[in-house]
């Protein structure tokens, strides 16, 4: 009940926010919030630290960009196509990676993501170092001009809310419960008769697909796809967002993404311009040392303790 009111307030806030804050910045924030939420699905609820999610995020960005720019697909289809391709890539990488746990899982995902990265560096369709530029935003549903930042914002917000709702639903579904059980004690889940690998793979693919959805949407917003999004730094950044916001909480990753993106954006033009990476690193250290449950995790724990 309480959370329902909370969500309604949040949606109302998001609806009026573009009149106060610069909409393109908000769209970027939403894209990363979705990316972090998708990542949280596999790390927070599946207990698997993937270090290769940039491959899905960046990969879908390129695919969407190519589909819109070269094939001329409608915007929605282009984004959907990017997300599905990321899902397919998730099947391939996931099938290999879920056979191992812990550090080995992280290393396999990282290695696969690096392979994908080098394919992007040397491919023609990605533009290599220069990136894929000039992707048209097109029209939503065939008639809403997305060149207008406000309509683009509501388009992105719709995608975000729908995807976020699906992720939240997944977490609270029987599937999500089994996933948490596997995270907490894999052997027990196996002994109860669950096919652990299938659950893990499905969670991985879902996470990859939503990461792809975020990447594709980001490409449309900025009208470009660049190597930054598939570089392993991005895989690290999304871990940071998720941990900072609160691992295994529904809204935590979005809050973490908001904090990181806001810092990146506003520190960049201040006197701390050259120190952005240092500031982010310090925040990470403080977060790990002082509040391990992340912003939202600590908040929840505080509420639970106090009331």
């Amino acid at each position: 009940m309480n959370s329902k009111i909370g969500y309604l307030v949040a949606i109302a806030l998001l609806l009026v926010l573009p009149f106060v804050v610069y909409p393109v910045f908000l769209m970027k924030l939403l894209c990363f919030a979705l990316f972090a939420s998708a990542f949280n699905l596999i790390l927070g609820f599946g207990g698997l630290l993937s270090f290769g999610h940039a491959a899905f995020f960046g990969g879908a960005g390129y695919i969407t960009g190519h589909a819109l720019k070269v094939w001329g697909l409608p915007t929605e289809l282009g984004i959907l196509f990017g997300a599905l391709t990321a899902g397919l890539l998730g099947v391939l990488i996931g099938m290999l990676a879920i056979r191992r746990q812990g550090i080995y899982f992280a290393m396999i995902t990282l290695a696969m993501a690096q392979m994908v990265y080098f394919i992007f560096v040397s491919s023609d369709f990605t533009g290599g170092e220069n990136g894929l530029q000039g992707v048209p935003r097109g029209y939503a549903l065939g008639f809403i001009d997305l060149q207008n930042d406000l309509s683009m914002y509501y388009f992105v917000l719709t995608i975000f809310i729908v995807a976020f709702a699906i992720i939240a639903r997944t977490v609270h579904s029987p599937f999500g419960q089994v996933l948490s059980a596997i995270r907490d004690n894999e052997d027990r889940a196996t002994s109860l008769g669950y096919d652990v690998d299938r659950y893990k793979l499905l969670a991985f693919v879902l996470s990859a697909t939503f990461a792809g959805l975020a990447g594709g949407t980001k490409t449309v917003v900025f009208q470009l796809a660049s190597l930054t999004d598939s570089h392993w730094h991005m895989s690290g950044e999304v871990v940071l967002m998720t941990l900072l916001g609160g691992l295994g909480t529904i809204v935590g990753p979005s809050v973490g993404a908001a904090i990181i993106i806001t810092l990146q954006n506003y520190l960049a033009s201040g006197p701390l311009g050259a120190w952005v990476p240092v500031v982010l690193g310090l925040i990470f250290v403080v977060c790990v040392l002082a509040f391990r449950r992340g912003v939202i995790g600590e908040l929840q724990a505080f509420i639970r303790k106090s009331f």
């Binding site: 290599g128 900025f222 470009l224 660049s226 930054t228 954006n265 990476p277």
Partner: protein, 401 residues
């Protein structure tokens, strides 16, 4: 007439004059946004130094042009095209920025071009190197100031062949940029009657160049061309030094090397390296005076990218001063009409495809014995006329030229 009335009259007269002067200046302020890399790979080549350089251009106008104040805003794009696009768009939409300057690295320049095209604002590119910025990827309001890959390839390629370096071996970064650079130089070398004996592709980025340097030595080529950039170039030069490549009589030709790279390498390692530069601080009294002022503020001598940023911002302000307007098309027309004459360029011509054509220089890194003091690194071997470096306008594929 009472004093009060007199006062109010004169106040309103002043106000009218001020508004007349600033009428042509949108929002009553000229705002220039320097978007550069302050923290990553290119922060030495461009970075804070370009902000200082842009400020030096503004200071020459004492901070006002055509009756309106000039304001400089800056941001670190961290070499990420999306951050650059976001920042540029925000500047244009909400902060009345009239021109974007510097824009190092091609992906950033291309991303900002897209924004500049949509918002009809001027983009003054200095740090990005790709020739397509004024060819296939050109926009009507995008100006490419300091150099481009064609000029570097032609400058170093043809000059080195003319100096007798007619057999080449390349160390090429294994991605699109490296291959394009190698292809550009190969064309020039062969046109001049030289021969390319082979190439070794190295991964990008690479730290161990020993096997590639050995291949280059074994090839027996007179010149080893480095078709890479940044850290790769530095590592390759270091490895070449360790294997005594230059001492054994081969020459290294760097295609994308900056003064800051030479400074980082030291003369002992970099000596004998040939490179094409757009600017060197120690060329005449004017460059020396300007560079000294720059040095006083930054503790470093300026790179070509930094000097070019100064020149582009200066030309932009001169055009506003001459026309009394900051309207994009008016300013652009004036910038093209006036030859670029400052300490960076002599009789530079701004072409309709956005290319600023000016003379380039082939330089060789001095040996420690030749150098007489700190930052005395280069000797100019040859002046490459602008037309030769940048090619004729007909070569450009720019649709709006």
């Amino acid at each position: 007439m009472s004093i009060l009335k007199k006062l109010s009259l004169s106040v309103s007269a002043v106000a009218m004059m001020a508004s007349a002067a600033a009428a042509e200046i949108s929002d009553g302020i000229v705002k220039i946004g320097v978007l550069t890399d302050m923290s990553a790979t290119y922060s030495d080549v461009a970075g804070q130094g370009t902000v200082v350089a842009a400020q030096m251009a503004i200071d020459e106008f004492n901070g006002t042009v055509a009756g309106a104040p000039i304001e400089l805003v800056t941001a670190d794009h961290q070499n990420k095209a999306d951050i650059a696009a976001n920042k540029a768009r925000e500047w244009g939409d909400t902060q009345q920025v009239d021109a974007f300057a510097e824009l190092v690295t091609t992906s950033v320049a291309l991303a900002v071009f897209e924004v500049a095209k949509q918002q009809n604002k001027i983009a003054l590119v200095s740090g990005a190197a790709s020739s397509p910025l004024t060819s296939d990827a050109c926009i009507p309001t995008g100006l490419h100031w300091t150099y481009n890959t064609r000029a570097l390839a032609v400058g170093t390629g043809s000059a080195v062949v003319k100096e007798g370096g007619d057999t080449w071996f390349f160390l090429t970064a294994d991605y699109a940029f490296g291959e394009a650079l190698q292809a550009d130089v190969t064309r020039v070398v062969e046109a001049e009657g030289g021969k390319v004996l082979g190439a070794a592709k190295h991964p990008f980025p690479a730290s161990d160049f020993s096997s590639f340097v050995l291949q280059a030595q074994a090839s027996g080529a007179k010149v080893v061309g480095l078709a890479n950039a940044g850290g790769d170039t530095i590592n390759a030069i270091k490895a070449a030094n360790e294997f005594g490549l230059v001492a054994a009589g081969q020459k290294i030709a760097g295609l994308l090397v900056f003064l800051s790279d030479v400074h980082a390498l030291g003369l002992e390692t970099a000596q004998g390296l040939q490179m094409t530069v757009s600017f060197y601080w120690d060329m005449n009294d004017e460059t020396r005076a300007w560079s000294q002022k720059f040095f006083d503020q930054t503790g470093k001598m300026p790179t070509g990218v930094q000097a070019g940023t100064y020149s582009s911002v200066l030309q932009y302000l001169k055009a506003i001063d001459a026309t009394g307007s900051d309207d994009t098309d008016t300013v652009l027309a004036k910038m093209r009409e006036m030859p670029v004459n400052d300490m960076f360029a002599t009789n530079g011509i701004l072409r309709s495809d956005g290319r600023m054509v000016h003379d380039m220089f082939l330089a060789e890194v001095k040996s420690p014995a030749e150098s007489t003091g700190p930052w005395d690194y280069l000797k100019i071997v040859r002046t490459i006329p602008g037309e030769e470096a940048y090619g004729p306008l007909s070569e450009s594929n720019c649709p709006t030229k």
